[in-house]
Amino acid sequence: MSAAIAAHDAGADVLLVDRSLIGRGGATVMAQMTVAAAVGEETPDDWRHHYADTLKAGRGLCDEKLSRLLCESAPAAIRQMDAWHVGWARHSDGRMRQAEAPGHDRPRCVYVDFLNTGPAISRTLRAQVQRRPAIKRIGDLCIVDLAVHDGIVCGAAGFSVSDGRSVTIAAHAVIVATGGLTRAYARNSASANMGGDGYALALRAGAELIDMEFVQFFPIGHLAPRLVGMDPIMWDPFRYKLGGRLLNADGHEFIGDYHAAEEGRYRAPRDIATYSILKEVAAGRGSPSGGVYLSFTHVPESRLREAFGPVIDRLTANGIDLTRQAVEVSPIAHYHMGGVRVMPDMQTCVPHLFAAGEAVGGANGANRLSGNAISEALVFGRVAGLAAAKCAQANRAQDWRDEAAETVLALIAGRTPMAGNSAALLARLQGVMANHAGPIRNRAGLQSALTELEALKAALGSVAPPPQPGFDTVRLDWFDLRNMLLVAETVITAALAREESRGAHQREDFPLTDPEWAANQMIRLGPDGLAIEPGPRVGEATRSVAE
């Protein structure tokens, strides 16, 4: 939506297409937490401090140009959202409230109370989109492939989810803003439309993906007791405001055994917290449901209520009294650091194809800081929108070519009904990824995952089921699986190749970080399948000067 607004305001005719309903799915609406930006209202700040923290959290792999763009432009994006009345939480003197999140050197993260940051941002962007009637919006439209002619993107083809019709779209520029791939994992905090569609579309159109091995697990996803109607990632804002203690089965606050002790504050970055929790569980010191405990029992009820008001009532309705009991938490797939490789104007290596938001890889390296995802969505969306508008204006003479969509239209037409249970196949893929391509990996597991993927590909087949009228869930699963299997393979291939441990990628068989591996890996789809290529060491010149 951020890209659509920017492209429209730059004079482009914009069509905003979503496989789900417009502005309902995706990751932004799910973000209960915060947005990082050096607006300096809580304490003095400068984008350079945010940039330094982002590079440090990225464990040496950030694309420094993208990280810089993210940090330098985030304050303007926050103020723009403020002008559009998003409702950032404020102090009584009018300054925005900023929370200190792990990995940031000072309070930098703005938010909307209570646990309402993402929905407020989605609603605000949606209102802005609606105020621009020239932005056409079509929901329930599943894009199957981009239309490519002579190596240049000229549109896309897909089908209507609600009635099954095939659709082609001619476009002078295309922006992929489909979010990440976390639905590929059994326990995830994703929307149903986050199976990595955009990565698969870009890959098949000839674009490069970068850093696909780095999947961020959110360390303290809710595990037990079961909650109805509450997001599993809700505990992060609790920790920002109230600290909280992470305890193992012996009641020991274990983070200090792996990282600087938290001492009542929320300090451990996501990669380290995830690793520590999984190691505690593996050592037999986990909670009954297979996680660890998160406790706020030392926090007085009045403070809980002041910080989270109505949320405390929703917890009570679920039978949880934080003053008396700890909850169980464990890591949950949350975000993808990798993605489509772009230049700082969000242009991919395929002419007229752009990416934006989480679909872009590289800005966060091997581990993302809390709060950078929405900043990235707003900033990269705007840049992509402006660049794509310029591209479209420069290419007005380019015509739609029917032959660019022939193959994809034949695929969409389908022929053979699904033999097995499509939903069960999808669940099997999620199990394979969770078991073998989670935060802690090894060669044997990754190789068995590749074997499993081959079996799943064979079960899916290469011919889609024919369209049935009316919200055909099996057909949707088929096309989702086609993308998810390809994207899962890029994650596993990159994870196998990286024989070291770094950030969100921890290899049991290569437990140390190897300075020689301070390099990104790029993946393309060639005639013989996926081809992986190691890039040069990241920012070598700048670092040697700094040292």
């Binding site: 439209l141 609600s162 994703a190 149903a192 079961r226 909650l227 997001d231 069960a424 869930t473």
Partner: protein, 110 residues
């Protein structure tokens, strides 16, 4: 003996004779009706159609339906170890099974 939740679900598309499917799922406390629907697709019938996006954050507001005659979100309706009756929203154009057309008119394919 473990408890069972039985979901009786209105099936079919407009113009078809209304049909009902019964599915039994193992009941676990703290599950939502949406959790049960997702399990039914994996364990019994992948053709069962219902809308959802965010699973359990109650952020997307897509899973609204009638549960025992009352309009509610499937993700906030608690699964119970008894017979529960699910129907599509009565005041929206019906598409199939539990899915209705809830997108604003200007966000649909012409």
């Amino acid at each position: 003996m473990s408890a069972i939740a039985t979901l009786v679900i209105r099936r079919g598309a407009p113009g078809q004779e209304p049909a009902w499917s019964r599915f039994e799922v193992a009941y676990q406390p703290g599950q939502s009706v949406l959790d049960a629907l997702r399990r039914i697709r994996i364990e019994h019938d992948p053709t069962l159609a219902f809308r959802y996006s965010c699973i359990n954050a109650n952020a997307c507001k897509e899973c609204m339906m009638l549960v025992d005659g009352k309009t509610t979100y499937a993700c906030t309706a608690r699964l119970e170890p008894r017979e529960m009756r699910l129907e599509p929203l009565p005041n929206k154009p019906h598409i199939r099974d539990l899915v209705t057309e809830i997108a604003p008119p200007d966000e649909r394919l012409p």
